[in-house]
Symmetry: C2
Subunit: 340 residues, 2 copies
Amino acid sequence: MNLKQLSDQLGLSQTTVSRALNNYPEVNEHTRQRVKLAAREYNYHPNTRATRLATGRAMTVGHVIPMNSTEVFNPIFGEFIAGASQAYSRRGYELLLTMADEDMEESIYRGIASKGSVDGVIIHAPRVNDSRIKLLQQLQLPFVVHGRDHSNTSDYSWIDMNNRRAFYQATKLLIDLGHKNICLVNGSETLNFARRRRQGYVDALCDDQTGANPDLMYSGDLNEANGYSAAATALGQSDAPTAFLVSSYVGALGVRRAIHEAGLEIGSDISVIIHDDELSYFQNDGDIPQFTATRSSVRDAGERAAGMLLDIIDDPNQAPLTELLDAPLTIGSSTGPLKK
Amino acid sequence: MNLKQLSDQLGLSQTTVSRALNNYPEVNEHTRQRVKLAAREYNYHPNTRATRLATGRAMTVGHVIPMNSTEVFNPIFGEFIAGASQAYSRRGYELLLTMADEDMEESIYRGIASKGSVDGVIIHAPRVNDSRIKLLQQLQLPFVVHGRDHSNTSDYSWIDMNNRRAFYQATKLLIDLGHKNICLVNGSETLNFARRRRQGYVDALCDDQTGANPDLMYSGDLNEANGYSAAATALGQSDAPTAFLVSSYVGALGVRRAIHEAGLEIGSDISVIIHDDELSYFQNDGDIPQFTATRSSVRDAGERAAGMLLDIIDDPNQAPLTELLDAPLTIGSSTGPLKK
DNA sequence: AGGATATTTTAAAGCGCTTTGGTTAGACTG
DNA sequence: CAGTCTAACCAAAGCGCTTTAAAATATCCT
């Protein structure tokens, strides 16, 4: 069933039927009801391909997921996207997902822009000095960054948490508990967020005159295996850490394994603080959460980011939108005073 | 730059330019090169909205991810989709992602079909007696099921692993090692795959005359927390299990936590076998993998499923395609003989 | 050379919507 | 009652491609 058939059926013009369905005012209320009823009856839905061509809008948002050979799909992206999709479906948009090896990224964005398959994109996991921001500004394609690039001083829309502050506070807590050898198990520091978190960690140590020890900073893709090997290595050192600060729950799972394997008990023998993105498959809640954590819902961030992007698409000339989320430190059972 | 502008620029008709770019034979090779060069120079890409209307094909595949309030985005879906997207991008297709609460599922599929926004869909996580299969058959929308619905005897395309066999073998191994109290930590048994795995587990126990004990079977959403509580509960029972069979790596992380908390050592005190989907963030490999596991790459399954679907879209009248993947049992360090 | 055939190019008709720029009929004004 | 408004509807153009049917040009053969 297409528009022509429906309007023939009703003895009305396509114009009137289209307007009736799209709630234009210049159609008689009685007619409108008649049209809507018939549309439901025949299960008529306007063909999106035609609508999109006619309106010049894709009604679609693109998410280009950065990927490399070992890190394929970070669970954090999944949760972010789940949040975003809430906003899209509420506002009649669809979500186009593309996986991109880093060396394909530019051509993917260029293609997306010139083919007109989306009205805007979300930039995931911004790097330090990220080329995507510049590219999209140049291509004039609306976008929102999940995170920021602190090395880019231009105006663009983003939503981010206060990474430096969160990790400063977390480190401070460990220091206050008496810890001196605190191991940072961080994400890859080509990524802006990881850079900021290290900054917070280093700042806290320096403020305390302890100073940061490069041997206690791990940076890299944060999966279970790498979390494990980072922690196992650190624990094998002569001056082993008594506390860990881990950038993700998933990484902390590996850290937890290494700690147990070393025969130590989390909370009593050794302290752990994580950043908790509140993934649904890795919940860290309850009265006393398993891990002491800085906490910020990535799903919520996804929903907000998507909403911001749709606002920008609706009115592309407004000033960039930004939102800074808080990541409060919540005490769980994984931290305790330094054991003498 | 659109087709008209490009063809004016070249002094050719739109027809010839379109054909040159789409590699139709009836265009002079010299002309084709000239056109392609110009297209590259002006960064011309055909507008997908127009192409799709003209061809009547969406060049898009839909993935509708089942979701409920607690389980938002299973990392397994992410990995599957990453695999699928390889196939799509190779063959010029795009991937439309939708999250669906179970009660919205039917209307989402109906909408997708009648709006024509996709050429086919992948069904994720089929349930026992799954309504989606019937619906899509009725809607005549091409689809491939990741998994099967054993209660549905009609012909449809699927890719699946041999769940019953894998869990039969895994259980058999534990029995051969002397274990009698084997706890099954399974996914939700509304899902077909979980039902089959339990079948394999029960069959192996019955073949051994041990018989299955309902108190040792957990079934539910398999996240870290539920894996933990299932295992913790089981270990607290009077006749505590000496071995666990866990349906996913993520669930096993919770089981691992409970075992450690009980002061037991995996491999020596207690055995664990998991099903390993080979998620990139949860690798279980190396010379001696952490976990003994039945193993099947879900990423690979995604790529194959997508390929099958595109084949079906290209030729919708062929017989349904099916593929049964093997999930071989690989010995790791998490299994050992029953401790006397 | 000149018709027949093969190759290359083109004009124009869709694809199924939205939207512009009307027209028509009835209501209202003075 | 002519003239003006307004409410309700419609014909047709246009979105940017692909594809059909036909025209123009090149190549071949006797």
